[in-house]
């Protein structure tokens, strides 16, 4: 496509750098400085997409980030393969460069011929609340029929199907003043704020060139110079100041607590030469001492029938295309306005060679100097007129206009032929960020707009985003917000407008489509219907009609919707309120938000030193806290059940080897270590001899079990504490808390040593035989090294803390070696243990073995409401100590009450039936619903050693009910089980104490 609508000269494009973009398979031509929108207009292409609901042809409404209609799928790096495409990019902000591949959305089979456009004809049924009213019955159609159909019919772009191949980075920054927006107000603020070289200033703007609205302005002067010359000078001054950082292409999208502003910088999308691996976007998290919001304002569309036809644009956008990008959005322009600013568009368009006429809703008397300027310039101005409707389909071909008489009646209609319409219903300050900062808005009747009222943070708004529109005033306002002052002499701007909500018409309002929200296809009649149906709060109208709920956040539609509701209800606008502005200001990619936090950087996996061996030997893993642990080691043809049966059998008959490295380990060191242990645990520690181990129970202050584990006393002043795998961090925190805040007088240090030691458990009658050949400086004989003791020495020549402990009921050792030696020691023990049939076992077998012995797992048998006595462990609670954490709570009335839930065993009547963990227990399954629950199953396994299923459960008064029959819920109903003692396996032969 050539560029028939490109002006021969002018514009802020670089004609020496031509470029091409692929649009729906065709080549679009343009220049550096173009956007995809300006290239489309240069080629004469206005049809740029199909609408959300009705599939109506849509064009380009705006030149900025408020564009609701021209949404494109962009393949940013088509040459690099899949994974670089994303949908719903606004054509008006996609910076043109060679190699971009863009496509229109939401049509089939093509943009020109779209079958879905039948929705437009069926629109009488697609009214507000259509979905709520229509898709209610039958229930079973909800997810099978309605949702797939609706999802297919509605929507815009298609979500990418492959993983995003780009890189994203993020960065934290601190500054004294952050300025959002590099228009005249923002530039003036930056200039003032950075005059003090000690002040760090960041100036961010979403566009790729600073200047804001001045970029579209070829007539205004500031202090005798063209406005853009002032911009260039100001930017040069700021650039030269070392305390200023200017960030173009950077959108401040979220304003959070403590002046924390999140911004996304587009780093490489605009660069054809971007090297692979360069981040696509960068998330800036800025903490600013002060924030100056200079975010500008949004123009309001006018609401009339078919106001969405391609070629109908916002007036300022027409001016931007004509001046900044040197493209003509048509030959025959009608400017429809209730705002003075649109006259500047008319004058500039005429100067650029378009044929122009103006239709002004206002009467002559309500207009300013702009009216005579336009008439003197030879432009026909029809004041006191309304637009009845736009003609044309895929492009506007004319406007039907008519005078409005004093009594409001519509006069004789005239059709104005045109191929472009510039409309303006006035201006809405962009208060999004201010509102996000929790500042309170104030309605200004003069401005017909919500403006910043009371600030909640150290922040100021300046310029058009608080309703200051005249150029001199805008610059002065910006300078003041930046902490300085300025009194520039600038060209007087055409300012002021007359608010209109829906243009007067004599058409049947229930039959026509006059759009308020272009992106979500919400018309004036939808809003009226919602109000008629009783939705009066704007928050309700919004949700019922979806107005303002699209990705454009209602930038162009909010005030028209609000004004319409207020008008129908005959209430002042502030009484209707405004909806809440929430981040993000414009859509942000997930990539930018998560940055490098993907995969293991997002969800780290902790691996033990023995993990590589387990992986090589076919382990099936399970996540436990952040760890991945070997769950079982299946041999050929084995399922989990078979593998676990074999592994548990091996531990009871010969020897198993288990990776216990994930156990939390804390070293407690210091002269007061024993005293500290005495206060933190329920047990008595002062008398534990060096070299002794004890099973320790830890309570919270409320008396409930918090953690457990074996503790070894390595020296008078040194304890090696083990915790549950998942509990390690919270136990450490719990201990530190008491040490730092309650007992700072204790001379104790705590060190997490979880990752310093690999732990290899050898369990089973042959454990000693396997270990013996490799041990030096430790006597393994029963008398010399009894159960629950610890010795230091060497295993395989590696320094070792050797524990004689058991979590299986069998003879057991836990070999602690420095983590780096873990795998080597494991391999040696495993290889040399072959002659004893050594069997690696995983966490599942470990669970079965411990349950066979009735050993609890904190977090499985306990849930934060369980006491030591409930678990049958009151023997571990010292009666002698005067105090320890949780002691006082143990005598509270509820803790000693009769009938507390107690740990017992459950044996199903059918020995092959394995209960569900978490299943509820009742006495009588015939009782009426809701039934009385008397407990729940906490652990349940098939035990090959016991030859039947076993389960542990917490049952009301359980220990007094041994032998009684209860009923346990199953997916099929109830099953019978008998309450038993929670020890299921009778250990034979050489056991823990042998």
């Amino acid at each position: 496509m050539s560029q028939p609508f490109r002006r021969p000269s002018g514009g802020r494009i670089d004609r020496s750098r031509p470029l091409a973009v692929t649009f729906n398979g065709k080549q679009l031509e343009g220049f550096a400085g173009d956007t995809v929108a300006s290239m489309l207009i240069a080629s004469g292409q206005h049809l740029a997409g199909r609408s959300f609901k009705y599939h109506r042809p849509r064009g380009i409404l705006s030149h900025g980030s408020d564009e609701p209609s021209a949404l494109l799928s962009v393949d940013w790096r088509a040459d690099r393969g899949a994974g670089y495409r994303d949908p719903n990019n606004r054509a008006s902000v996609v910076e043109a460069r060679d190699g971009l591949v863009v496509n229109t959305q939401n049509h089939w089979p093509s943009l020109e011929t779209d079958v879905g456009a039948v929705n437009d004809l069926l629109s009488p049924i697609f009214v507000a609340g259509f979905y709520y009213k229509t898709f209610m019955w039958p229930r079973k159609f909800w997810d099978r029929v309605y949702e797939p159909v609706i999802r297919k019919a509605a929507g815009l772009g298609e979500a990418p199907e492959v993983r995003d191949a780009d890189r994203y980075s993020n960065r934290h920054a601190h500054c004294d003043v952050l300025i959002v927006g590099a228009g005249p107000a923002g530039l003036a603020a930056a200039l003032a704020a950075s005059a003090d070289g000690e002040k760090r200033v960041i100036l961010a703007d979403e566009g790729f060139e600073p200047g804001g609205a001045l970029l579209n302005d070829v007539t205004s002067e500031i202090d005798g110079k063209p406005a853009m010359a002032w911009v260039a000078e100001t930017v040069a001054t700021l650039d030269a100041r070392e305390n200023v950082v200017i960030l173009p292409r950077t959108t401040a999208f979220g304003y959070y607590n403590h002046n924390h502003v999140c911004m996304v910088e587009r780093v490489s999308d605009h660069r054809a030469d971007a090297p692979e691996g360069l981040a696509r976007e960068r998330l800036w998290q800025v903490r600013a001492g002060e924030v100056v919001l200079a975010a500008g304002s949004h123009e309001r569309p006018l609401v009339f029938e078919n106001n969405d036809r391609p070629g109908i644009m916002l007036a300022e956008s027409v001016r931007a295309f004509v001046n900044r990008w040197a493209v003509l959005p048509g030959n025959e322009l009608v400017v429809v306005t209730s705002s003075a600013s649109a006259y500047r568009t008319a004058l500039d368009a005429k100067a650029a060679g378009m044929r122009v006429s103006i239709v002004d809703i206002r009467l002559d008397a309500d207009c300013g100097t702009e009216l005579s300027l336009a008439r003197d310039g030879g432009i026909t101005v029809r004041t006191g007129h309304t637009v009845i409707k736009a003609l044309g389909g895929k492009r506007v071909t004319g406007l039907v206009v008519a005078p409005i008489s004093a009594n409001g009646s519509i006069g004789e209609k005239t059709t104005l032929a045109c191929d472009c319409v510039a409309m303006s219903g006035g201006w809405t300050p962009s208060v999004h960020l201010f509102s996000q900062s929790r500042g309170k808005l104030r309605f200004d009747v003069e401005l017909d707009a919500f403006v910043p009222g009371t600030s909640a943070q150290a922040e100021r708004s300046a310029g058009a985003c608080r309703g200051v529109y005249d150029l001199s005033a805008v610059i002065a306002d910006g300078a003041k917000a930046g902490g300085g002052s300025s009194t520039p002499q600038a060209t007087v701007s055409f300012a002021g407008f007359q608010p209109v909500r829906v243009l007067p018409t004599d058409a049947d309002a229930t039959k026509i489509k006059a759009f308020i929200d272009f992106q979500n296809d919400v018309t004036a009649k939808d809003i009226k219907l919602a109000v008629r149906e009783g939705f009066e709060s704007i928050e309700h109208v919004k949700r019922y009609t979806t107005t303002g709920m699209a990705t454009d956040q209602g930038k162009t539609s909010n005030m028209n919707a609000l004004g319409l509701v207020a008008g129908i209800l005959d209430r002042p606008l502030p009484a209707v309120g405004t909806t809440t502005f929430r981040p993000p200001y414009t859509p942000v990619t997930f990539g930018a938000l998560i940055g490098p936090a993907r995969d293991e950087l997002f969800d780290p996996v902790r691996r033990t030193p023995i993990d590589p061996w387990a992986e090589k030997n076919g382990a099936v893993f399970e996540p436990v806290a952040l760890w991945r642990r070997a769950k079982y080691f299946p041999q050929a043809g084995e399922d989990m059940h078979a593998a676990v049966a074999r592994e548990t059998k091996a531990v009871r008959t010969t020897v198993g080897i288990f990776d216990a490295s994930t156990l939390g380990k804390i070293e407690v060191i210091g002269p007061d270590a024993a005293e500290f242990m005495n206060r933190i645990y329920t047990n008595a520690w002062l008398k534990l001899k060096t070299g002794g181990c004890r099973y320790g129970l830890m309570l919270r202050e409320d008396g409930f079990v918090y953690d457990d584990g074996v503790v070894a006393r390595l020296a008078e002043d040194r304890f090696h504490v083990t915790t549950t795998t998942g509990g390690a961090p919270r136990v450490m925190r719990h201990m530190e808390d008491y040490l730092q805040t309650e007992w700072p007088d204790l001379d104790v240090f705590l060190t997490s040593i979880t990752e310093q030691w690999a732990v290899i458990a050898l369990q089973g009658p042959n454990a000693r035989k396997v270990l013996e050949p490799f041990v030096s400086e430790i006597d393994l004989a029963e008398d010399a090294f009894p159960h629950m003791t610890v010795k230091t020495g060497y295993v395989c020549g590696v320094p070792c803390r050797l524990f004689r402990v058991s979590f299986t009921g069998e003879l057991g050792f836990e070999v602690n070696v420095p983590a780096d030696y873990g795998e080597a020691v494991w391999k040696t023990l495993y290889e040399k243990g072959q002659k004893h049939g050594i069997t690696p076992y995983g966490t599942e077998a470990m669970h079965v073995l411990r349950a066979e012995m009735g050993f609890i797992v904190v977090g499985q048998e306990t849930d934060g409401t369980v006491t030591a006595d409930d678990l049958g462990l009151s023997g571990l609670v010292s009666k002698v100590k005067t105090d320890f954490v949780g002691k006082r709570s143990l005598t509270r009335p509820d803790m000693v009450a009769e009938g507390r839930r107690q740990l017992v065993g459950l044996l199903t009547k059918n020995p092959d039936e394995v209960l569900d963990e978490g299943a509820q227990v009742v006495d009588d399954p015939g009782q009426p619903i809701p039934m009385k629950m008397i407990g729940h199953v906490t652990s349940s396994y098939a035990s090959s050693n016991c030859g039947r299923s076993i389960a542990m459960a917490m049952i009301d008064g359980g220990r007094t009910r041994i032998g009684e029959t209860v009923f346990v819920t199953t997916p099929a109903g109830f099953t019978e089980a008998v309450i038993s003692n929670a020890v299921f396996y009778d250990v034979k032969g050489e056991t823990v104490d042998a």
């Binding site: 009222g453 608080r466 409320d702 700072p744």
Partner: protein, 102 residues
């Protein structure tokens, strides 16, 4: 995300910290001498003020130290942070802000 001024490390982002609830509730010297009702209050009853609130915070992903902070529960502003054992600073009710747009 809030910035919290650790008395030992300086300002650090909120994600490095863990809130430990209301501050200045000392564990009784001899808990067994405390009546049931008083012990219940010690365990479970906390003030829930609108405005300044003294809280315990742990710089867990930093120095590992516990400290106290005065936070405004309305604005989330941290008015002061101070070491464990120090008395609650005497501060007026204060909120974070600031210049106005009026």
């Amino acid at each position: 995300m809030l910035l919290i001024d650790c008395p030992y490390c300086g300002k650090r982002p909120e994600v490095e910290f863990h809130c430990g609830g209301e501050a200045h509730i000392a564990r009784p010297e001899m808990p067994t001498a405390v009546e049931d009702a008083d012990w219940g209050s010690f365990l479970y009853y906390r003030t829930n003020p609108k405005g300044l609130h003294a809280e315990r915070w742990l710089h867990g992903h930093g120095c590992g130290r516990w400290f106290n902070a005065l936070r405004d529960t309305v604005s989330d502003a941290f008015v002061a942070t101070y070491e464990m054992g120090k008395p609650r600073p005497d501060r007026d009710e204060a909120t974070a802000s600031s210049p106005s747009n009026a």
